[in-house]
Symmetry: C2
Subunit: 431 residues, 2 copies
């Protein structure tokens, strides 16, 4: 960029909102991001940082001057501040904390004291609180005096002398109520979220009850802050993406435009695991070397049965993982679900056995070979249904993420069962 | 259930909120849903129906008495009403429309006139509108007179004599402003959403700008209604799930607890497609029958290269599909992205070639065989990177959903290239 063009680019960027600037940074090659960053107005830094994904944000912060980072962080909402600090190397975060003023430091430390995926971590500490025993007129005068309200305020919270949550007053009710109405008659005892609740549970509560915000309390029911729907939207998006990305063996924070070496590293674990399972399948085939060397047609058809089992099993697996994420699958219906998927596996097995047997009987003019592949298909489809439904349920009990490891274990099972059933029965019946 | 237990169950259900009841119905076997439904208080019908997924909701509506359905529909928000009507058979929907009062029918027909995945389809028609030239005191008195506000109201809209949108007044600003403040100084010219905008674009705007609600206008900038964040949350959830479910060949509305026959039917298309591609891979192997019958070891190792290519290609595919869904991948960076993934494919190819060559050289005591499989691995990894990055971009241009068809086309490519490269070079070098 020439210097004239830099000015032009700067002017164009100045017309964008923080959300647009974040999108632009995310869509750019990693090496260009810093150039763009330097053209952004410094007073937007904190807003733009809030909108970025962890990977991209940390990349930028590592290259900013420490005092500029501190300035930007102080203007952030608590939840984003805490999230940013946690993403930085320990030492850097400590230095930044030390540089903050006391109020910012204490709200950051409160958030950091909760686990990464808890309500305490994603809450904001900017809730407006009221005392009992006042009326609408007093509240309205207080709010006018106060002036501005925190972003996304839809409810004010009523707390007692010890800051214990008594209830919430919706702005919509406050506005439509007569001036003399006592606060108690407007107040609803809203469900409060314990600070230790996991964020995906928080998200399902928001979805189930269509909340815009919810209060967060500690174990003594004292109000700590509030969670707003915009943060919940991010959790929902990340949760849903997490399953999809994990099933392909990807980190969900993986940046589409990361440098080549970094991306290669990140993806190699999964390829390594897959190589092991592919070698395991090869070792199973190796047991049947005699049969394979006598009948080359077995080698040609050896991939069909494992492949069909893999697809059928992955369909079941995906469905059950989604059902668990939505809270539809629980211990009461797990057993029934497994038997349902077994039945589907059996039915699928019958259908595709008949079909593949006909295809092979015609293609290879060999009825017995058709019967062998049909038998193997039936066995493997049943195994696929059973494994696809029970694996995620078992893994959840063992606290292993089924989206991450389920698919690879499933494929190993359907590969091994499929090869054993096909080459085993072929050895027995054809040779 | 005995009659005493029915009463008990009824009492328990009466303590649940609509969101909880919907969750209970979704988690139940399809044949039990009607029994549960009959225990629910009729005045909650519309709220519960609003929270259900299409599949489950339609199943229940088909078994309800038509007049009860009409009652429930009239109490629904416009967006859910329209969504429900569209999910029903044409004839049933027509009858229900005819049975509604005129106001409900006209708001339903307005929504139905827009395409299924547009802003017009998901909007509500309950926005509160104000006229210019009044002050805060007048507005507050008007709102108190009006009493209740529609759910999730955070902004009031200012419209001119022809109902053209002039701007929005946030409740938070209204509350904190002095009584004499003119409406014009509170009003912000908020971005309006055209009724024809696609719902996933609406969702990205909400995410990018952290909106709670947004006005919907027609082509003359006349206000039609508003979209609220709770509906956007559903879109975000469905969009993210859609990719995951499609990649496994599932319909995203598929009900985890649907009957066996229905589920088997729904999944069979994908299994059929997979059978064709598996047969195609077998046909490629068939070309090398001579080599396979001379060297059984080729049959044993034949699955390793296609499998690694499939995994690597699917990683790239998933990443690019997600990047496109988030709006990060566009025509400006597509070419660069493809070359990046090619480079990763090459690097992966080198790494895993060396590894697999060493494993095979040791396991099978055959250096040349190791070289052959390494060569095939390198070729297939490069093909996987190229196909994984370019397929979704090409398919999007052709208006084909890459999440649905991308994975199967990709696997076909990596299977065919992998088998050709491995068996071809083996025929050439080893026999």
């Amino acid at each position: 960029l020439g210097s004239g063009q830099t000015e032009l680019a700067k002017e164009m960027l100045h017309q964008l909102q923080p959300g647009d600037l974040a999108l632009l940074l995310e869509s750019s090659r990693s090496r260009n991001r810093l150039d763009i960053w330097q053209l952004i107005q410094p007073d937007l830094y904190s807003d733009v940082l809030e909108e970025l994904s962890d990977d991209v944000r940390n990349g930028i912060i590592r290259k900013m001057l420490p005092e500029k980072v501190a300035d930007a962080l102080e203007e952030m909402d608590t939840d984003n501040l805490v999230d940013t600090l946690r993403g930085l190397p320990q030492e850097v975060a400590q230095n930044l904390l030390a540089a903050m003023d006391e109020q910012d430091r204490s709200r950051a430390e409160l958030g950091l004291s909760y686990g990464e995926e808890t309500a305490g971590f994603i809450m904001n500490t900017d809730a407006i609180t009221l005392r009992p025993g006042i009326n609408v007129d007093v509240i309205l005068r207080y709010l006018r005096l106060k002036g501005d309200m925190p972003e996304h305020t839809d409810t004010l919270y009523v707390v007692d002398r010890d800051y214990r949550l008594m209830g919430g007053v919706a702005l919509t009710r406050l506005i439509t109520a007569a001036a003399a109405t006592p606060i108690e008659s407007l107040m609803k005892t809203s469900e409060a979220i314990p600070a230790s609740m996991m964020d995906n549970e928080v998200a399902s509560l928001f979805e189930r009850y269509n909340w815009l915000s919810a209060p967060v309390v500690d174990e003594n029911n004292q109000l700590l802050g509030r969670i707003t729907i915009d943060d919940v939207v991010d959790i929902i998006r990340e949760d849903a993406e997490h399953s999809m990305m994990s099933m392909a063996g990807l980190d969900d924070e993986e940046d589409t435009f990361a440098p080549v070496i970094k991306s290669t590293q990140r993806r190699s674990i999964w390829l390594g695991v897959n190589l092991l399972t592919a070698l395991m399948a090869a070792a199973v085939s190796d047991l049947f070397e005699a049969a394979l060397s006598q009948l080359a047609v077995l080698a040609i058809l050896n991939t069909i049965v494992p492949s069909m089992g893999g697809v059928a099993g992955n369909q079941t697996l995906t469905l059950v993982i989604r059902g668990m994420a939505l809270g539809h699958v629980n211990s009461a219906n797990a057993r029934w679900l497994i038997s349902k998927e077994l039945a589907i596996g059996f039915l699928n097995g019958v259908i595709w056995s008949v079909l593949i047997a006909s295809v092979i009987a015609i293609w290879k003019q060999d009825l017995m070979l058709g019967a062998v592949i049909a038998f193997a298909m039936l066995i493997n489809m049943i195994a696929a249904g059973l494994a696809g439904a029970s694996l995620p349920i078992i893994m959840k009990k063992l606290k292993i993420d089924p989206a991450l490891a389920g698919s690879v274990i499933l494929t190993t099972i359907t590969d091994v069962v499929g090869i054993f059933a096909f080459l085993g029965s072929a050895t027995w019946l054809l040779i």
